[in-house]
Symmetry: C2
Subunit: 265 residues, 2 copies
């Protein structure tokens, strides 16, 4: 295995680009390949069996690109299929739920944590289980926020509509007195500004940032970090039209998406 081999990231769509952004920020020299299975998004509405099959197909595609580490940037796959992927592949596999859960447990003082995510993620109780396995005394309060993903995809991440929607969803979770809130969906970091305004001094845990930190630690332990001053390469693969992915994705990444290819899985 060569250090210069890329890190592989896959997600059901554009959301995982928030993870790519954070990995690129703390590990700028790494080469990264991103796969968005945009033809079959969203995974959250599918059966566990189907999600596992799709995630194997994504994993196999990335393994063929000689990746040195795999990041599962999809909450649904992280909740359902992570261990099955780990059993199948010879490289480290990092999901987005464990890092977010651990950071939340480290952050909370009053042992009350809120989780926001898609309906599928909240229903799966995956963050709840991950947190309880670290500290069974913590109270966890989960809340689906179905309008956040379309708000982010429209680019309406600031202004009065975003503010009112965030206030409406988060009122109940604030009333419960949580001191830590996990952004349990890869889209939500784009609403972080508004959410922080509304939640005052509640600590926001961004699973994308926490996942990137774990990636750095694991690569360092393996002796596989690239040390150089120039920027790594970024390659993108999608399973549906590249056009919409670029339009929405550049807002997620806050940089250009250039080397992009449509593939079939």
């Amino acid at each position: 295995m060569d250090k210069n081999n890329p890190i592989g990231i896959f997600d059901s769509g554009v959301g995982g680009l928030t993870v790519l952004k954070e990995v690129g920020r703390i590990l700028p020299a790494e080469n990264i390949i991103y796969l968005g299975d945009t033809a079959r998004v969203p995974y959250g509405i599918r059966s566990a069996e189907t999600v596992t099959r799709y995630s194997f197909e994504c994993t196999e595609f990335l393994l063929r690109q000689d990746i040195k580490l795999l990041i599962v940037a999809c909450n649904t796959v992280s909740a359902i299929s992570l261990n099955k992927i780990r059993e199948k592949v010879p490289i480290p596999v990092i999901g987005v739920i464990e890092p977010g859960a651990r950071a939340a447990v480290n952050s909370t003082k009053n042992k009350k944590i809120g989780i926001i995510g898609t309906e599928a993620t909240i229903k799966s109780s995956s963050y709840l289980r991950a947190i309880k396995s670290l500290d069974g005394d913590i109270e966890v309060c989960g809340l689906p926020c179905p309008l956040f993903v379309p708000l982010v995809e429209e680019g309406w991440t600031s202004g009065v509509i975003a503010r009112l929607v965030v206030e409406r969803y988060l009122k109940d979770i604030m009333d419960k007195g949580v001191d830590t809130l996990v952004l349990g969906c890869t889209h939500y970091p784009l609403l972080k500004g508004v959410i922080q305004d509304v939640m005052n001094d509640v600590c926001l845990v961004d699973s994308a940032i926490e996942t990137a930190k774990v990636v750095k630690d694991v690569l360092a332990e393996m002796g596989m970090l690239i040390v150089r001053s120039c920027e790594g390469r970024r390659k993108f693969f999608v399973t549906d039209s590249t056009e919409k992915f670029i339009n929405v994705g550049e807002r997620f990444l806050q940089s250009r998406i250039e080397d992009i290819t449509k593939i079939e899985l």
Copy 2:
């Protein structure tokens, strides 16, 4: 064929209940069976081949219930597979696009029509084609409104958030001077109040109402209308959990959903 045989309606989810509501309003004595393929919603993100396969499965299920007429209450299926279904079945098949397009053409004075719908419906240009085939001189302006479906499913159909979202989407279409606006998504009739407030004296065409009128005309021509004073039966079938369907669906129908069964297609 017996008059007392039910009318069959299918949709990918709850949206088609707006069509059921209007059919039930103008034909209260009819027996109606509704099938929502909620395990595979939304159809709009799938390939034409897959949509056609799913729609055949829904059609076959309803034919086994001895329906006398089939309503395809799904915009995606109406756009993609309507003729293929018509070729396969021996009963009348009515979609939601033709009735909405015809009503819009009859309504417009200045020959400028706006269409709002999901991204898939607008991209398919199905309303545009249906309108142009009736009057080639009409200007058609299509606009996807991705936040409307989650707004409706959350039940946020009035109040300041709904008003601001509607204003933001519809500003451009108002500036274009349309005098008629087609609600080209089965969810949108629930936002009709807010949309009418924002659009002032623009005529709103509700495809659900127009479809119900066509159903009445076709059954009358066939001599298959039930004439009696008591209410018809309503039966519901879904492919995913009945619970969420009932919660959201009762808002769509504005009446109780009682006789409901989960099936596999």
